[in-house]
């Protein structure tokens, strides 16, 4: 009797509902990915959950359910900050592009002065003979 009670799982996770929840979280992850947000860590965890669901035993399904809870928390946080993340990412990208595009102008203005400065510095100990 005791052995039977001990061997009974504390609770069983329904595989179908777990799969529906998995698909919903995957959809939200893919949406973020399509918007250009880095979701690779969440994808790694969803990959682990997929393997656990494929295993199908009670322990794996329970572990998958726990992992999905943790993934959902991360997703909520990412979704809340998505606009800021995208804004910062765009700022970074366009700043780099702006800097690259300004290189010709900077070169045009600074290179002759720099070149001459170096030219004089290299020759500053030279003695001019009459």
């Amino acid at each position: 009797m005791l052995a039977q009670i001990l061997s009974t799982p504390v609770y069983a996770v329904d595989k179908d509902s777990l799969w529906s929840r998995y698909l919903e979280l995957y959809k939200r992850t893919a949406d973020l990915g399509r918007r250009g947000i880095n979701v690779s860590s969440i994808v790694d965890e969803l990959g682990i959950v997929l393997e656990l669901i494929n295993n199908g035993d009670d322990y794996s399904l329970k572990r998958a359910s726990e992992l999905l809870d943790s993934i959902e928390k991360k997703l909520v946080s990412l979704e809340r900050n998505a606009d800021n993340i995208l804004l910062m990412e765009n700022l970074r990208k366009y700043s780099i592009v702006g800097f690259i595009m300004s290189i010709p102008l900077l070169f045009y203005l600074l290179f002759p002065r720099l070149y001459l400065a170096i030219w004089f510095r290299v020759r500053r100990r030279w003695v001019v003979e009459k």
């Binding site: 995957y26 990915g33 994808v43 969803l46 990208k93 690259i100 595009m101």
Partner: protein, 168 residues
């Protein structure tokens, strides 16, 4: 050579202008211009070639599947295993009409690939003994806009001749 000479300086400027425009364009262009997915069928050693050409009825055949995602976002992929013939092969737009025997789900991030072993049962009745069948592997992807699996138009198949299983 005087770098401040007008002609030399003009050449250097031209190189720098072209280089900076090219670099800027590389950063601004979309990261994925031609999205695609890929599926590959490999032998039991996960290599191309030397595929089995004869199988026993009822045996489990070990093969290897390769998947690649270059869609620009994480992709939930499903490989559906079917058994058919040369008249029931999938096409670019329609899957094989034969029933699905096994499915294998994989989640791949953009740019990722995976290679995994599959054990596929040769589930055919006696009438197929001595005949050639096609082991079909179709790639389906989960459409996040419509919330359902859709056929990607990509598949692999392997023709094998069915032998009667040996008496144990």
């Amino acid at each position: 050579m005087n770098l401040l000479d007008d002609e030399v300086f003009a050449v250097i400027m031209a190189i720098i202008v072209v280089g900076s425009v090219f670099s800027g364009a590389q950063l601004l262009r979309p990261s994925v211009t031609e999205p695609f997915t890929a599926i590959g069928l490999l032998n039991e050693n996960c290599k191309i070639g030397v595929y089995p050409d004869k199988v026993f009825r009822g045996e489990n055949l070990t093969l290897c599947i390769f998947l690649y995602n270059y869609m620009g976002y994480p992709l939930l992929m499903q490989v559906r295993y079917k058994i058919g013939s040369n008249t029931t092969l999938p096409a670019n737009s329609t899957p094989s009409p034969m029933p699905t025997i096994l499915v294998f789900n994989k989640l791949l991030d953009h740019g990722e690939n995976t290679t995994f072993y599959v054990e596929v049962p040769i589930k055919v009745n006696e009438s197929f003994v001595g005949k050639r069948i096609a082991l079909i592997f179709e790639l389906w992807i989960y459409d996040i806009d419509h919330g359902k699996w859709v056929y990607s138009g990509r598949w692999n198949h392997l023709y094998v001749e069915v032998l009667e299983s040996p008496i144990p």
